[in-house]
Amino acid sequence: MEYHLKTPVLEKEIRKLKVGDLVYVTGTIITARDEAHLKSLELHEAGEELPVTFTGNGVFHCGPIMRKDNAGEWQVVAAGPTTSARMEIFQDKFIETFKPALLIGKGGMGDRTSKACQTFGCVYGAFTGGAALLAARGIKKVEDVHWLDELGMPECLWVYKVEDFGPMIITIDTHGGNLTADVGAKVNAVRDRLIEEMEG
């Protein structure tokens, strides 16, 4: 199935999605990598307000190349997904705390994230890794940037207005499906056989 979502996305719409579905998003997505996840959670724990709203929006695992145009406005040069697995160590806590509707990344994520997606109503959409110019095409406006001086261009929060951003393939849904983990299990079974049968 193909879906065109608008942010903020309601939880019941997210729960309709299944592994293998194609998704396009219109609305707000916010880049966040390792440092931005950590800092967001730290601020929340300290009782401080974040400069952005993740709830119902897309969290994009991405460290873009940005450039200021002659008018001094930020423009996207290239903005593909980064390896999401690095965020596995705090993504579940992040989902529980901020309730994003959709994670956008590449390479998939593990059990902890998958469980948090089921419990709190979030999905993972895989965008083709490295396809940074395809991704940039769907970004219509750079609405804001936060923590640039402190975290630097790849790690800070970029707030993008997007239009039919995609396609992303749903690889983690709210029903316990995790396509990348399923493929990984098959790969490991073949690996074990190849290693077992290896000749000198």
Partner: protein, 292 residues
């Protein structure tokens, strides 16, 4: 024009080429892979990659936002007029390319944050390997390599008794572990022997060997062929989604080993194996090589 300036401009240019123009041999191989992939998911991933590569080439924009840690492999002729100055020029060209291409600032100081210009610390980044060779020319290969596939590199000091069989098993284990994480389909470089450091350097350099050309040593060539076949049996697929090619090429580079050691390095590149080469003569003549 001063030779220094010619070299600096040339290095900025090969960094631009590497970031924006994927060697056509790789795109042709992925195109073949796309045609022979039956599943729509795998086909779509390869289609997205090929479209992205085209936009990059047409618009001279980086094909991937992760323009990597910049590395240079340099062959410096004995009688080339410049010596240590070459290193300074490579550093300056890296800063300029960061602004002009642009490249993403990817050099992070653990205590002070991103240096903002792809240079730092203590003269170690950009990574520069210099070999002294005969002749009066300077050959510079640049290879900016992204973090995703760099993170799935593997290294092990095997027991020599495990022999080549142990090496092949380790390569399969390493690529299976890389799985979906490093943007497959992959290029795999294997370094065997030398020492704990050299095997990794050999593995990284092996990625730069001519595409689809097997080692001149028939024994090594047959291991490359065997690994290419077996690694594709793993079924990782494009982007780790289980469809399409897993590995596009495998190269092995060997060195002698210590009798008690069998060092093995596995360096993996994402589909975007970006590199470009320039040869600069003492008289300032420049030849650029974009081939795979």
């Amino acid at each position: 024009m001063m030779l220094e300036k010619i070299i600096e401009d040339t290095v900025v240019e090969i960094l631009r080429i590497a970031a924006t123009e994927l060697p056509v041999e790789y795109t042709e191989e992925m195109n073949r892979g796309m045609k022979s992939t039956e599943g729509t998911v795998g086909k779509a991933q390869l289609g997205n990659i090929l479209e992205d590569v085209k936009i990059a080439r047409d618009g001279s924009k980086p094909m991937c936002q992760d323009t990597g840690i910049v590395a240079f492999m340099v062959k410096l002729g004995d009688s080339f007029p410049l010596r240590s100055k070459v290193k300074e020029i490579l550093v300056e060209a890296t800063k300029r390319a960061t602004e002009e291409v642009p490249l993403r600032p990817n050099a992070v100081d653990m205590f002070k944050g991103n240096t903002g210009n792809n240079v730092g610390l203590n003269g170690h980044v950009p990574i520069i390997y210099i070999d002294l060779v005969h002749g009066d020319s300077l050959e510079i290969t640049t290879m900016p390599k992204g973090g995703g596939s760099t993170n799935v590199a593997a290294h092990r000091m095997l027991k020599p008794g495990l022999g080549i069989k142990g090496v092949k098993q380790f390569v399969i284990e390493a690529v299976a572990k890389a799985g979906s994480l490093g943007c497959p389909p992959y290029f795999v470089g294997v370094g065997i022997g030398g020492g704990e450091d050299l095997c990794m350097k050999l593995a990284k350099n092996a990625l730069l060997k001519p595409f689809n050309k097997r080692s001149l040593d028939p024994k090594v060539a047959s291991i490359e062929t065997e690994l290419l076949d077996k690694l594709n049996q793993l079924g990782i697929g494009a982007m780790g989604l289980g469809e399409g090619p897993s590995v596009l090429d495998v190269h092995i580079e060997m060195a002698a080993r210590h009798p008690a050691s069998l060092p093995v390095g596995v360096v993996i590149s994402c589909w975007a194996l970006r590199h470009a080469k320039a040869k600069i003569s003492a008289n300032g003549k420049v030849e650029i090589d974009k081939s795979a």
